[in-house]
Symmetry: C2
Amino acid sequence: MKISMFYIPTFFVFLHKAKFLLKTPNKKSALSEIHGVEQPETLSTLVASQIQQFRRKQPSAEELIAGILKGDKTALSRAITLVESTNPEHLAKANEVIKGCLPHANHSVRVGITGVPGVGKSTFIEAFGKYLTTIGKKVAVLAVDPSSSISHGSILGDKTRMEELVKDENAYIRPSASGDTLGGVARKTRETIILCEACGFDTIIIETVGVGQSETAVHSMVDFFLLLKISGAGDELQGIKRGIMEMADTIVINKADGDNIAKAKLAKTEFNRALHLFPAKSSGWIPKVTTCSAYEQTGIDAIWEIISEYFELVKANHYFEEKRQNQNQFWMMETINEQLKSHFYNHPNIMQLLEENKKAVQNNEISPFAAAMSLLDQYFKK
Amino acid sequence: MKISMFYIPTFFVFLHKAKFLLKTPNKKSALSEIHGVEQPETLSTLVASQIQQFRRKQPSAEELIAGILKGDKTALSRAITLVESTNPEHLAKANEVIKGCLPHANHSVRVGITGVPGVGKSTFIEAFGKYLTTIGKKVAVLAVDPSSSISHGSILGDKTRMEELVKDENAYIRPSASGDTLGGVARKTRETIILCEACGFDTIIIETVGVGQSETAVHSMVDFFLLLKISGAGDELQGIKRGIMEMADTIVINKADGDNIAKAKLAKTEFNRALHLFPAKSSGWIPKVTTCSAYEQTGIDAIWEIISEYFELVKANHYFEEKRQNQNQFWMMETINEQLKSHFYNHPNIMQLLEENKKAVQNNEISPFAAAMSLLDQYFKK
């Protein structure tokens, strides 16, 4: 089957150009300042040959697959870098690697973790991850954070904060891929999961920052969804984003230590009551609320017990496989739908007409439906 | 601006054909039974001329607009029939009529009403509608019920159940349009709202059946969303669909009469507590819970008071206009996105390839992303 990587890169190139134009209206690029300074010829030949040599050293797809399958973290990292690349050649190679890894993937539990900033996600993941490696698990920690594309990987800070886990040979931590869209970031993370699983990681933790739609994206790529909260001065139930509570398979109240223990217990009762307001889950699972202290490393084992209980249930009633199949279908469709939209809305003729039609709709000159049909007419004509 | 109605009809024709093929695999149509019986020639000429005459009598778009603007319900009904038609000529005419009505629309309050079967929606709408006409309102009752497309308008039963309201000259009741997709039904209802408003109806009630995604569709076309519930043996909080409670601007507990009054009050307390669990609404409105008896016609005035209070707030803080603008934009985009998908998924080459790729994804032979890209490649090639 022929696979074309054509649409993604053109879209990225387009965005890149558009940004550049926006930043420097009628201005010369900063690079033009050094125009006229001749490049020493010898150096440039040297650099060129070095780059060529370096390129030659890039392992082939087969080498990467072999490396990943024997648990080589360097091969894994290199393959993930290919997945995250916007270079069409890299993406083609990434696809080959993924194809080779697919038959060896899927043997894992995938746990999504979300919580607003301040609940102690990094500390929790460190404590949780360390606990898991202690009981013999191989843990990969990934992240979906579309906002990190602005700072190009500021979430790396998290990596240094997970000091213990990052040194653990049975753990692998990878910061969030950057990307212009959540869809792009999510796609990269999904493919990274496959690579990590093929590399022998049996517990995949996917962290998200609790901003906007990223929870929904993470929810659609994990088996189990953990919502991290803290108790506080009456704010137990604040900051609950639309639908997040409904997604949770367990709510963990962190920082249940010292003076906070009583408050955390109260919060547990509140959340338990709140969870009863939601309809039964199709998994047959009844969401549980528990407390822990990531800092004091208490209550962590109970969380893993809850998760294990969940997996026992959903593997027995086949919900586990069913959900994964549905997620695969969902991601295929989602990619198609996103690309169809991106192709339409970035069509040069449409961009101008869209603005005109939006204005006409706003001024009640045309109904939203008629405006849409007029645009579609233009689009399909070409 | 040229408006093409090309895509919708071809899609419907396609679906129609597909259904036909499914129903009669290798079988002759029932119609072929009477093959050989000659049609009396005189009758057919007569019928043909009658049809031609009837067609000639069809009012023009201008005549329909003029009729609607002076409050003629017959003109309104005819225009709605055009909106609901799948005939491209009718749709073109419908668009002309809508265009003429648009500058006179928008002066209304649009109230969505939902509730599971058995809460007494028809009785409630009858009592509520009658109350509104009593205080001088002109009320149009529409419905969004995609399931009615199966029985082709079984919801008409509701119309006969609203005996009093249907006879009221200041009320207009129209059953749900039929359609193969929720998107189609919703589009027709949205355009019907415009026509009703231009016809002088200042209170638009849109009923939905509480099934699947139809609430979301209705929520995106109304200003105010009313959730109808009943109290019962401990089931106050059951049957709450994902996200429905969050959409509600008010929850009305119906059947608060006789022995039920105490239970309804208890349910009110429960719902009030439940509503506090949700994040604040961007309208600035705090959802209210109230009880009523549509049967005994008590508590109806209090509901209208709540609704009026809401409109006072959102008109003062400009949320009202903002929301309507957003809804228009949403519907334009939604129509475009639905059509893009429909064009793709009904493409003859894609339909076969899609099945193949779905299978490959299922068997872990290809990643969902690679499968999607391969399909898109085929699609854009043509």
